[in-house]
């Protein structure tokens, strides 16, 4: 049990592990393709379904494409989507949440209704429908769609926190001194919300990767000949036990990334705000 205990006691170590994993994955996704002589679309007719070896490091798939190159391409896309969605949802959640919480009244009613409305239908279903239109639009379009449907829960929590911050003496003082509302939001509210937002940025980073992979897995995401971790997994899921390398390399990368981001997020949460996340949602 000593391993478990060390894990629980040494959170910073876990966070360092997470950061190291993320660095390795980035290295693989962005430098890896330059090390390998194969491109993701090249077909090697002499090596169909070949296992990992000297020529194809991660093996090849059933039509002879290099799994190392394909996984790197998929991971690249996942990482780009992850960073952009994380930034966009956090900004959107901060904007909507603080506006609803700070201004109250009709702004609050309208924004809360919008948030509730977007939470009535599971976002993934909407994403599936919207994705039919994005077939040829590339990863930024998918990132935008995923971001547009992923900010609501955080915005709700931010709103609750902004509401309580609004009545703090220094915020009231600033208001009575005639400081403009947006300046108060920027100068007095956002610094307090920052730890919470940073934590949520990590959650969003993991969720975005999972959403894209899931979308591609059910056939609505990235279209062939382009690849993503999701399409690689969908193509090889049936033969996962016969040709494990085709399935387990992309799946392993996905799991490593989510796990690494969660490790960092967990460490940030315990370091930055032990109570806020819990208390805010509880209201």
């Amino acid at each position: 049990m000593s391993g478990v205990r060390a894990w629980a006691a040494g959170r910073p170590a876990a966070a360092r592990l997470g950061l190291a994993l993320i660095a390795l994955l980035c290295l693989y996704a962005f430098v890896g393709p330059h090390l390998s002589p194969h491109s993701p679309t090249d077909i090697d007719y002499t090596a169909l379904s070949a296992g990992p070896g000297a020529r194809h490091w991660f093996g090849t798939n059933r039509i002879g494409q290099d799994v190392f190159a394909q996984t790197a391409r998929g991971l690249q896309k996942s990482l780009l989507i992850s960073v952009s969605v994380s930034a966009a949802t956090t900004a959107l959640a901060a904007l909507v949440g603080t506006c609803a919480g700070y201004f109250g009244g009709w702004t609050d009613h309208a924004l809360t209704f919008l948030v509730d409305l977007l939470l009535v239908v599971p976002g993934f279903l909407v994403l599936v429908v919207v994705a039919s239109r994005l077939r040829n639009a590339g990863w930024p379009a998918y990132a935008a769609a995923i971001a547009a449907l992923g900010w609501m829960v955080t915005a709700r929590a931010v709103r609750a926190m902004a509401r309580s911050l609004r009545e703090r003496p220094y915020v009231r003082a600033a208001r009575h001194m005639g400081v403009r509302p947006l300046r108060i939001v920027r100068g007095h509210l956002l610094p307090h919300l920052a730890p919470f937002l940073i934590t949520h940025a990590t959650i969003a980073a993991a969720a975005a990767v999972v959403a894209e992979a899931g979308l591609s897995f059910v056939g609505f995401g990235v279209q062939p000949p382009d690849v993503s971790l999701g399409t690689l997994m969908a193509d090889s899921a049936e033969v996962a036990l016969t040709y494990p390398w085709m399935f387990f390399f992309p799946t392993g990368m996905l799991l490593c990334f989510v796990l690494a981001v969660n490790l960092v997020g967990e460490a940030l949460r315990t370091r930055l705000d032990p109570v806020a996340a819990w208390a805010a949602v509880r209201r």
């Binding site: 049990m1 478990v4 205990r5 894990w7 629980a8 209704f113 509730d116 409305l117 939470l119 009535v120 239908v121 599971p122 976002g123 993934f124 279903l125 909407v126 599936v128 429908v129 919207v130 994705a131 039919s132 239109r133 829960v153 993991a206 999972v210 992979a213 899931g214 897995f217 059910v218 056939g219 609505f220 997994m233 899921a237 996962a240 036990l241 399935f247 799946t251 996905l254 799991l255 989510v258 796990l259 969660n262 967990e266 819990w278 949602v281 509880r282 209201r283």
Partner: protein, 326 residues
């Protein structure tokens, strides 16, 4: 009190209407039923396609607002229109709703129940082996996307079946086709088929809820009234069960509707991966074909279940916490 409940209901109804409008608008904007008809070989003449689309109420030459009012009027009278094959959406809905409802219901009950139990247990055994193990396990499960979990469970079951030598865990479809035998053996067959999909949708809930419940139970364990109860002679276990559990469940009610959203998304993957003919797999099929009426029907189903889950969690809060009733 009655006023509050009524307001809550009215808001839910309003949200349902708005979500119907939005999902109809999104579906018509993104999906192209015309392409589905035109892609057939030989390519049918445009007039024929126009005619078929008009018959389904999907003619893209009439304004969206008009199509929506027409659809909404019929939907309000209990008719959700026709699928692209000209079949009744209502009939398909009826065939599939039981399958999904079973998965969602069993998943919610099992996930919430086990999550609460695991959370309380971890809190009572804080910092001991079960707590540490559960923390690690739930962290790992929360890092596992639902569809990966489903695939791993499927492969695991396949390996297990192979090593045992005959099919113990059946996981394709919701029952063995052509199964014979009495009611009991058929029920047993369905229960076996239910195992893996339920595990897929419920494990995430167990992991998340056990964390929340652990934190809430730890709060309660430190509260004065439990000490009082013990001072009056109750054992720690009885004190927690009779005076602590109810209090600790209150914060969890806030998470139930979010949890249900995740569960619903998970059920779409579970149905797809385990070959269940439910609402989720219908949705994916319909979205692929551009079947607007079917897509909107499933989103309506989703909206109704999500709103119901929200109402139920509110009712639960009412039942648990006398302060909100005042």
């Amino acid at each position: 009190m009655a006023g509050r409940v009524l307001r809550r209901l009215a808001r839910s109804l309003l949200l349902l209407l708005a979500s119907a409008l939005v999902s109809y608008a999104v579906a018509t904007a993104a999906l192209s039923p015309r392409a589905y008809f035109e892609d057939r070989t030989p390519r049918p003449p445009t007039v024929a396609v126009d005619h078929e689309l008009a018959a389904l109420g999907l003619d893209d030459r009439t304004p969206v607002a008009e199509r929506f009012t027409h659809w909404a009027w019929r939907a309000a009278h209990g008719d959700l229109g026709r699928t692209l094959d000209g079949e009744s959406v209502n009939a398909e809905f009826g065939r599939r709703i039981g399958v999904s409802a079973r998965l969602l219901l069993v998943g919610t009950v099992v996930g919430t129940g086990l999550g609460v139990l695991a959370g309380v247990w971890a809190a009572v055994r804080k910092d001991r082996v079960p707590d540490r193990a559960m923390t690690l396990l739930s962290f790992l499960i929360l890092s596992l996307p639902t569809f990966v979990l489903a695939l791993l469970l499927k492969d695991g079951a396949l390996c297990f079946n192979n090593s045992v030598g005959h099919t113990v865990i059946r996981y394709t479809g919701e029952s063995t086709p052509g199964a014979t035998g009495g009611l009991l053996s058929r029920l047993g067959d369905r229960a076996v088929h239910l195992t893996l999909p339920t595990a897929t949708v419920a494990l995430g809930l167990v992991a998340a809820y056990s964390r929340y419940q652990r934190a809430a139970t730890l709060d309660v364990l430190a509260a004065g009234h439990l000490l009082t109860a013990q001072a009056k002679g109750l054992t720690p276990g009885r004190a927690l069960l009779r005076h602590g559990l109810r209090v600790s469940l209150v914060p969890l009610t806030a998470f139930l509707s979010f949890g249900f959203l995740t569960l619903f998304t998970g059920s779409v993957f579970a149905e797809q991966i385990f070959g269940w003919p439910g609402m989720g797999s219908w949705f994916l099929e319909a979205a692929q074909r551009g079947d607007v009426n079917s897509v909107v029907a499933v989103t309506l189903f989703a909206a109704v279940t999500v709103l119901l889950a929200g109402l139920l969690s509110d009712l639960l809060l009412f039942a648990l916490d006398p302060r909100v009733r005042g």
